[in-house]
Symmetry: none
Subunit: 229 residues, 2 copies
């Protein structure tokens, strides 16, 4: 109920990074610090976050690109950008990517906290803090423990099965872009990873066959879509 908010913080300057990390932790949040966008993207796909704070300028992958990649697979998670520049164009680009807020360095810790809380108040009403448990038709799926509670025989999913089903669930009834999914789970959207994903789709279909209202539908050339009638 009163679960701690899980924050993904992407910041390359560790002076600021560690400072924010310890500050937010002291305020009762769980914080994961990633030192560049690429690492942050991997972390995002490996666990589950309720809130994102991204520095705009980072090596490997900047904050905007990171947000763009994440938005392809998660349309809801709140994102707050940090930037040194106070330029208008940046501000706009950030918001067009689905930013929920924006702060220009330097800023006060208390103000950051206030904004996080404001965003969460706004969001929490609609979206219950996710604990990675989904109902797929009548089948329960816990992405944390990787358990799929099918009627006949609960199954422990493998890493890849779990990641893929989780993405499908988080985007229920929406088309999950093929390339974006591959980048999120396999790190690269080449041909072979694509075929690999198709194999996993087949596996998931077999596992979910027990409830005939569940369908993993293909949208030719676009991606897959989890549909529950």
């Amino acid at each position: 109920m009163d679960k701690k908010l899980n924050i993904l913080l992407a910041e390359d300057d560790d002076n600021l990074g560690l400072l924010l990390h310890s500050f937010l932790k002291s305020k009762g949040f769980l914080v994961e610090l990633a030192r560049n966008g690429k690492l942050a993207f991997e972390k995002f796909n490996q666990s589950s976050f309720d809130f994102c704070i991204f520095d705009v300028m980072m090596p490997e992958m900047d904050g905007f690109t990171l947000a763009k990649e994440i938005r392809e697979i998660d349309k809801k998670v709140p994102i707050l950008f940090l930037t040194a520049k106070s330029m208008k164009e940046d501000k706009l680009e950030g918001f067009s990517l689905g930013a929920d807020d924006y702060m220009t360095k330097p800023f006060s810790m208390e103000e950051l906290l206030a904004r996080i809380e404001a965003i969460m108040r706004r969001v929490e009403t609609t979206q219950v803090l996710e604990d990675d448990v989904f109902m797929v038709g009548k089948i329960k799926f816990d992405a944390q423990s990787r358990m799929l509670y099918t009627q006949v025989q609960p199954t422990k999913l493998t890493t890849k099965e779990n990641q893929l089903l989780k993405l499908l669930c988080k985007n229920e009834n929406e088309i999950l872009d093929r390339q974006a999914t591959l980048r999120a789970i396999w790190g690269d959207d080449n041909y072979f990873n694509g075929r690999s994903m198709d194999v996993y789709i087949a596996k998931l279909r077999k596992l979910l066959r027990e409830d005939d209202r569940i369908e993993i539908m293909n949208v030719h050339g676009k991606g897959f879509q989890l549909i529950i009638k």
Copy 2:
């Protein structure tokens, strides 16, 4: 409560090294001096430090590489770099590796002291000086004395068991990178050490079996993850 701060000092120049060592000792710190990065890395993995001071230029393994290796298994421990060069690029590289501070030689002892205390003030508020005692589910684990207090029969862990479980605990709920772990505990991530680690994972699982909320989960191709439900 008022435990002495344990400092790991990596410095190849013995003149400076011994000077710093005795100065810091006189100020009430426990100090371990390592003459190169490789030795420092080994020391770090064998005991437990609250603070690191690394010279940037050292034989065998330089301060930056050392910091990078350490950051893979410990994201929090404060690191302060010492360098002869006052070059900007170095400074930046240091910070991106998770440096908390940076000093250019020559520097005054008193200034060093002031900086250590400043960093510790910042850190100490959130993070209690770790005494290496963890709660793994309902099982107490003291990495200092190597005791695992299982209900049935408290066990004294072996060196390797202890190191591995400690790393898992310090990174609870996060994926502990396979290669990084091997380098930290075995010094080398070759095939055989990998198999050895798998044997130890099996041993730990058996020891922790008594509490079924504890799970050492494998993330295929990435590493292991200690999960407590």
